[in-house]
């Protein structure tokens, strides 16, 4: 079969995470059957699930977080008492002592830590957003740095979840389903900066509420998301009480509209999708009582989804012109099921989907086609993805989308054939580039347009990162071989010349990673 390198570039970059280097043969495989290469992953639904040793369920993680918080509290109290008696305070240690020094986690021989020159000094990137945990400069010798604090269970969990996701992204063939995971996870985002529980649950939320439904039905994903403790915590629904519920009457607290509003505005109908303030308030009442069981476990296993009938607003509710009878938990589930099938939802999802994969200004005909697929298949997301890959627009539209920082870093790791053993430097670089993992600034997720990611500061930082990678890894690679893996004859003459004429392999690698072929998709 004839090789079509241009279509391979689309297959790998527009739909996937870019070609892997080494002996993967990704570009050749993609070039011989571009559509087939992309669609092959859709046939393996089980491949979307992510199970790795040590990754735990949301209730288990919730209980570990509660236990950690209790220990911190006890340690603080003991320290207070010890100040009076001059005795040393016990330190919290929610985890059993590791059999090796903790620093081993921070000095693994991974590409990215080498690159960033942050060997022993790398602190957990989930703290790197705070200025008091600044990454030291590459020039500073490790010995000069203060010894890192041991990671607590929340930081460890976050890093383990991040590592599992990154390793999966590095190893998959095309990466289309992983890109779908990232898309849906961003659509239904939570933010790990909300608090300890959100940080603890960020990875589990994606594994449990997003992944099982990425090739399933939208309505199922919607229900799983809105009933997940991480989402209920992120958008405050665990605090919301029906004003006329038993708890609402006793505790003099009441309704919080946050989750209800974002369900309709961001998750389903879209703003302007035909709902009113009354509908927001009504849905907020309908989902009162959707919460998770706390540390005492009065309404269920701690950290698991629970319906608290005492907090639920009694009575029927009118939502989007339809009355939902007082059926407790089922009232909200019925409402969500209807919202998932609303025409505005189909339109909103189709538009966002096409914008993500094809163009900032999505081609209207393609949006219309996907909307119809969504409606006809009752929100079958596999059918939606298949229709996208089958469309001509997705293959013909010019490559004007900008890779997000996450896509850029993953594509780079793949091309260099590195599977990280430690997520630290990826997390740091994501923070630097303005896309901290699972931590968007608002519930609308990270931006999805070239304008947002091709900003001056962002480009300069990408170059700095690429330059460091070049300095560390350049000596051992042949840049022209790498260009063959990345783009082959789809690479522009100018890019090829720029790389050929670089004054060193190090510089050539930096330029390759920053080339339009690697930045645009």
């Amino acid at each position: 079969m004839a090789r079509d390198s241009q279509a391979a570039l689309v297959a790998l970059n527009r739909f996937g995470f870019g070609a892997r280097g080494g002996a993967s043969g990704d570009l050749i495989n993609a070039a011989s059957d571009p559509r087939g290469f992309v669609k092959a992953e859709l046939a393996r639904s089980y491949g979307v699930l992510l199970e790795a040793p040590g990754l735990q369920s949301t209730p288990q993680l919730g209980q570990a977080a509660f236990a950690y918080q209790d220990q911190v509290k006890q340690a603080r109290e003991a320290a207070k008492a010890a100040t009076q008696s001059e005795a040393p305070a016990p330190q919290p240690s929610a985890e059993p002592k590791p059999d090796k020094p903790l620093r081993r986690n921070l000095s693994l021989n991974t590409m990215m830590t080498e690159i960033a020159g942050r060997l022993a000094g790398a602190k957990p990137a989930d703290n790197a957003m705070k200025p008091d945990s600044m990454q030291p400069n590459a020039a500073a010798p490790p010995a000069a740095k203060p010894s890192p604090q041991p990671l607590n269970v929340i930081q460890k969990t976050f890093r383990a979840e991040a590592l599992a996701r990154l390793q999966r992204a590095m190893m998959v063939d095309c990466g289309f389903t992983e890109r779908l995971v990232v898309f849906w996870s961003n659509h239904f985002c939570i933010s790990a900066s909300k608090g300890e529980l959100a940080r603890m649950w960020a990875g589990a939320f994606e594994r449990e509420a997003i992944r099982p439904h990425v090739l399933g039905h939208f309505a199922d994903m919607l229900k799983a998301v809105e009933q997940h403790p991480a989402m209920l915590f992120f958008l405050d629904n665990q605090q919301s009480l029906g004003p006329d519920s038993r708890a609402g009457q006793n505790r003099k607290r009441g309704l919080n509209e946050n989750l209800a509003r974002e369900i309709m505005e961001l998750h389903t109908l879209g703003v302007g999708g035909g709902y009113t303030q009354d509908d927001v308030t009504s849905l907020a009442r309908i989902i009162t009582g959707w919460t998770f069981a706390g540390r005492k476990g009065q309404i269920g296993a701690p950290g698991s989804f629970a319906f608290n009938a005492n907090a639920h607003q009694p009575g029927p509710q009118l939502l989007l012109g339809k009355t939902y009878e007082a059926t407790g938990l089922a009232q909200g589930e019925a409402a969500l099921a209807d919202i998932a099938r609303h025409p505005s939802t189909a339109n909103f999802i189709a538009t966002k989907f096409v914008r993500h994969f094809v163009a900032d200004d999505p081609p209207p005909a393609l949006v219309a086609r996907l909307r119809n697929v969504f409606v006809k298949t009752d929100g079958d997301l596999k059918a939606l993805a298949t229709a996208l890959v089958d469309s001509d627009e997705a293959w013909k539209a010019p490559l004007t989308k900008m890779r997000s920082p996450y896509d850029f870093l993953v594509a780079t790791g793949r091309l260099l054939a590195r599977v990280p053993e430690d997520p630290g430097s990826y997390l740091s670089n994501l923070n630097l580039l303005g896309q901290p993992l699972w931590t968007p600034a608002g519930p609308n997720g990270f931006p999805d347009t070239a304008a947002a990611w091709a900003a001056p500061e962002g480009m300069k930082l990408r170059l700095d990162i690429a330059s460091q990678m070049g300095a560390r890894l350049g000596p051992n690679i042949d840049p022209l071989d790498l260009l063959e893996f990345a783009a082959a004859d789809a690479a522009s003459v100018e890019t090829r010349k720029t790389i050929e004429r670089a004054e060193s392999r190090q510089q050539a690698l930096a330029l390759l990673l920053m080339s339009p072929e690697l930045q645009r998709r």
Partner: protein
Amino acid sequence: MIDCVENRLLTSRRGLLLGGASFAAWAYLPKFARAADGRDPRLVVVILRGALDGLATVAPIGDPDYAGLHGSIALAADGAHPALMLDGFFALHPSMPEFTRMYRAQHAAVIHAVATPYRDRSHFDGQDVLESGYAGPGRVQSGWLNRALEALPRGERVSSGLAVGPTTPLVLRGTAPTVGWAPVALPQADDDTAMRLVDLYRHRDPALASALSQGLQLEKAASGDDMKPKPGNAVAQMRQVARGAAKLMAADDGPRIAALAFDGWDTHANEGGPVGRLAFLLGGLDGALLEFESGLGDRWRDTVVVVATEFGRTARINGTDGTDHGTGTIALLAGGAVKGGRVISDWPGLKPANLYEGRDLKPTTDLRSVIKGVLQGQFGLSDQVLAQAVFPDSAAARPMKGLVA
């Protein structure tokens, strides 16, 4: 939604980076001066993302309905943390002593019961209207501040705006050139590699060429001894961002116009009153204003800082001691060029019948009038340009007179 968003901007410990004249240098940005009176005006736009509770920041303590509506989080003129009375009616949040000082020195003003033309409650559309300057939301890829730059005469006048942060806020996006800066800590790519890449982009991808060149030019101007990392929290980070931006803007050849955004104002639950979460954030904002004042030095005299947010919050607290998305709120002005010491408001009152949709402070002032007044006072833009180019179809929102001294 997000309790106290951690600011993602990291601080710099880089030295001077682009020492030579490798690029069309930063220093070539035209100097901006008003020939007529020798002033060298500067404008900083601070966007508070998440919708600030204006009633909790500048409290209408004299309104008989305020205390009841704002309930447990209402400010009061007495008690352990008394609000600072601005006049007989309005009082400022106690965590803003610097703004109070500026106000008393007549270098700060409040505009109350203000809103953009947007009347719904989506953050993202609200921010879109606030920053695009259009009357309604849409996918407009340019902002009013960029179009104001475009409208300025060329030559001696400013030609470039400064976007602070890793991405350019919409308000500064558009065809007029902008430069971006964020404090960071990374070893730097060398000039030669950067030049080769810019050259490749010029041939293959002009948009990337322009973005990258701008990013490269800015780095050296912002770095300096006082940008070393310091321990701190969101409050310290707001100050650091302001300090870096002020340093850039204080330079003779620095940008005259900057935009930056602080996140985290979406106080749905446990908003707090005189102390608590909102108080913490307001303290950060107050510190950022102080950094602008001290960092701009003599230039503060010609500066206006506009603080605005996409909309307000419900007048009545919700069931979780917070507030939901509302309409009317405040805008703040600070700077030596502000004709301050005033709360400017056509106060609508907080009686149930006076609330917008029975929920929100009713807006009586169009935020565009306030911004137009500032742009006119600082840069002399005409009514017509403001009504057509900067804020399209906004003739009805007349520029507010006398905001700038």
